[in-house]
């Protein structure tokens, strides 16, 4: 077991190196000269040349790549041209805001989604089941940036119940913060909730009809305990896989959601970095998110191995 887990960890190292390389190559391909962007259109050729030396842009691409790699290994993700601050400190400042909405919405999604999935499974082919599954299907098909706009229009513009933009502040009390969180979280939770509901339903259906559950019934164990304790536990592995995928794609959702609600997180930072051609910041945040993605996938696989020891990772090779 420990050996397979270690092997899985080692497997993610080449992936990380490739991620770093892809990020480097892609950001170098973004058109425009960073030195000119920083200095503005009036800068003289000499100033630009000096700035290029300062930024290390006069070196060969290979040297730049080596510098970049060494920097990353030292935890140095570069310095943002626009903010004139280390990228890591900018990320550290923004990441809690993004985590607040992504994690809150994921927790909501797990409880509601798994709950709906279990109910649908035990009441298979009932009206309730149909309604839930239609809602779930609409949920997974939802363009969340549109949903965000519709929520803003309804609850902020028309009804005036909830604030549409920004994050609120603790100084105005916890109520202010929560009221600012409602719409972004609702928006972000939609797709995960629907996905959890669908996967839980199908996984539960498979388990409910298995012999082990019939055996439990035969022993006269309480139905609610069979469903929520025994069956749900056996239905967990696919749900955990989906959890990992959703955790990772929550960041994607956050980019869009944050830009609708002007939520000051990683998403708005990336979008404005792209607008400003702030290469180091783009490079740093993109790399950071990709690394989180790899690590989350790794954790999910490890958890999966622990809860479902039947899975063998040896035979899968490249996967």
């Amino acid at each position: 077991m420990l050996k397979t887990i270690l092997k899985r960890i080692l497997q993610s190292i080449p992936t990380l190196l490739i991620v770093i390389t892809i990020t480097f190559v892609l950001t170098r391909m973004i058109p425009g000269n960073p030195a000119r962007t920083i200095l503005g259109p009036q800068a003289s050729a000499q100033d630009i040349a000096e700035m290029e030396i300062k930024l290390g842009l006069n070196k060969s691409k290979l040297e730049q790549y080596a510098d970049y790699m060494i920097g990353i290994l030292h935890g140095d993700f570069g310095t943002s041209y626009v903010y004139n601050r280390p990228v890591t400190s900018l990320i550290a400042e923004r990441i809690p805001n993004t985590l607040v909405i992504t994690l809150t919405s994921l927790v909501i999604a797990i409880f509601i989604g798994v709950g709906i999935g279990v109910l649908s499974a035990i009441k298979q082919y009932s009206i309730l089941d149909y309604i839930f599954m239609i809602l779930a299907l609409v949920g997974v098909s939802m363009p969340i940036f549109w949903l965000g706009l519709m929520l803003v229009n309804l609850f902020s513009v028309q009804l005036g119940w909830l604030p549409a933009l920004g994050m609120g502040s603790m100084s105005k009390g916890i109520g202010d913060v929560i009221s600012h969180m409602v719409l972004p979280c609702f928006c972000l939770a939609t797709i995960p909730t629907a996905t959890f509901a669908r996967i839980t339903r199908s996984s539960m259906l498979e388990v409910i009809h298995s012999d082990s559950i019939k055996a439990l019934r035969a022993r006269g164990i309480k139905e609610s305990s069979i469903i929520w304790k025994h069956a749900l536990k056996n239905a967990l592995p696919p749900i955990v896989t989906v959890l990992g995928l959703q955790l990772a794609s929550a960041f994607t959702g956050a980019i869009l959601t944050e830009s609708i609600f002007s939520w000051p997180g990683m998403g708005t930072m990336i979008v404005s970095a792209i607008d400003n051609r702030d290469y180091m910041l783009i490079q740093g945040t993109v790399l950071f998110i990709a690394v989180v993605f790899v690590v989350v996938n790794l954790l999910v696989d490890v958890v999966y191995m622990i809860i479902n020891p039947r899975v063998s990772y040896d035979s899968k090779g490249g996967n």
């Binding site: 080449p14 992936t15 490739i18 991620v19 390389t21 892809i22 892609l26 950001t27 391909m29 973004i30 058109p31 299907l137 609409v138 997974v140 098909s141 939802m142 363009p143 940036f145 549109w146 949903l147 706009l149 519709m150 803003v152 229009n153 513009v157 669908r198 996967i199 199908s202 996984s203 696919p238 990772a248 794609s249 960041f251 994607t252 980019i255 869009l256 830009s259 609708i260 990336i270 979008v271 792209i274 783009i282 993109v286 998110i289 990709a290 690394v291 993605f293 790899v294 996938n297 090779g317 490249g318 996967n319």
Partner: protein
């Protein structure tokens, strides 16, 4: 005598061909029949067909030029005279823009899926068939690409490539390559050691021929299923990119770019965003329903 043999063999050939045709027809019928019984898949198919119809016949169906500006008619409400969906901030007819938008959105979604599909399938075939170091290198690079959240990867690619129809197709296509490669590689792994593949090797069939005429057709079901479901997510990706201002450039209408304009006029004319987004939702729903349906018929294993 010679004539008789000739006709008999010709007859035999004809019969064979006929039997072959019957067989394929029966198979198609079978898939189609199963699909026909699946009500939700049929709803999906109807939505898809209607949207494709709208996209193909946009010039006939649209009552106005989608880019024709009438400043005096800005923000007419839906059901105003001559404008069922109303008009946007430049007085352009929203119905016409949504109809032309269907064209752009579907071309991008289908194009992106095709680009990603063709390259991904090739890479997956090579990786799965060759195995060893080639497999490792290809799949590690694919893993690397898969480590980027899809929207993030397309955002960077769009920054590199610049706005425009072809570039959006390329960006979405590149983002799609790794998952296609993975699906195909997995299938090839299963198929390549089957008895009939070994038989082909024994009688000296070349690798290329083995790959394209024997292995690929047997791996086609999951590819079709994956591609259909992928069109749905590609529509969302296009809309997301255009919504962020990185996709289709103004004034060209795509559902995403109309939605972006709708965002800025949300307080004065919420219907612009509502209508364009509703089209995205319905179309994505259609492709998802249809995709789920053909998955159940073609590839029951994949059903989760």
């Amino acid at each position: 005598m010679a004539d008789i043999t000739k006709t008999t063999s010709a007859d035999a050939l004809g019969l064979d061909a006929q039997a072959e045709m019957l067989k394929t027809e029966r198979r198609a019928n079978n898939v189609w029949n199963k699909l026909k019984r699946n009500k939700t898949a049929m709803i999906g198919l109807v939505i898809v067909v209607v949207m494709v119809f709208i996209a193909v016949f946009a010039p006939v169906l649209a009552p106005y030029d989608p880019n024709e500006i009438h400043p005096l008619d800005a923000f007419l409400k839906p059901f105003s005279e001559g404008h069922i969906f109303g008009t946007d901030q430049f007085g352009r007819d929203l119905l016409s823009r949504v109809i032309y938008g269907a064209r752009v959105s579907l071309i991008v979604a289908a194009g992106g899926t095709l680009v990603g599909g063709v390259i991904g399938v090739l890479l997956g075939l090579i990786a799965g068939f060759m195995g060893g170091i080639v497999d490792s290198v290809i799949m590690r690079i694919m893993d690397g690409f898969l480590s980027f959240p899809f929207v993030l990867l397309s955002i960077i690619l769009m920054t590199v490539l610049g706005q425009g129809l072809i570039n959006v197709i390329i960006a979405i296509g590149i983002g799609n390559i790794p998952s296609f490669a993975r699906v195909v590689r997995g299938e090839v792994h299963i198929v390549k050691n089957e008895e009939y593949c070994n038989a082909c090797r024994v009688i000296g069939v070349s690798n290329t021929r083995l790959l394209f005429t024997h292995i690929l057709p047997n791996a086609i079901s999951p590819i079709i299923v994956y591609a259909t479901l992928n069109v749905a997510s590609a529509i969302i990706s296009e809309a997301a990119l255009s919504f962020l201002g990185l996709g289709i450039a103004a004034p060209t209408a795509s559902w995403g770019s109309i939605l972006r304009e709708g965002k800025s006029s949300l307080t004065t004319a919420p219907f612009v965003a509502t209508i364009s987004g509703a089209f995205i939702l319905i179309t994505v729903l259609g492709f998802n329903l249809f995709g789920d349906g053909i998955r159940d018929v073609l590839d029951p294993k994949m059903k989760q």
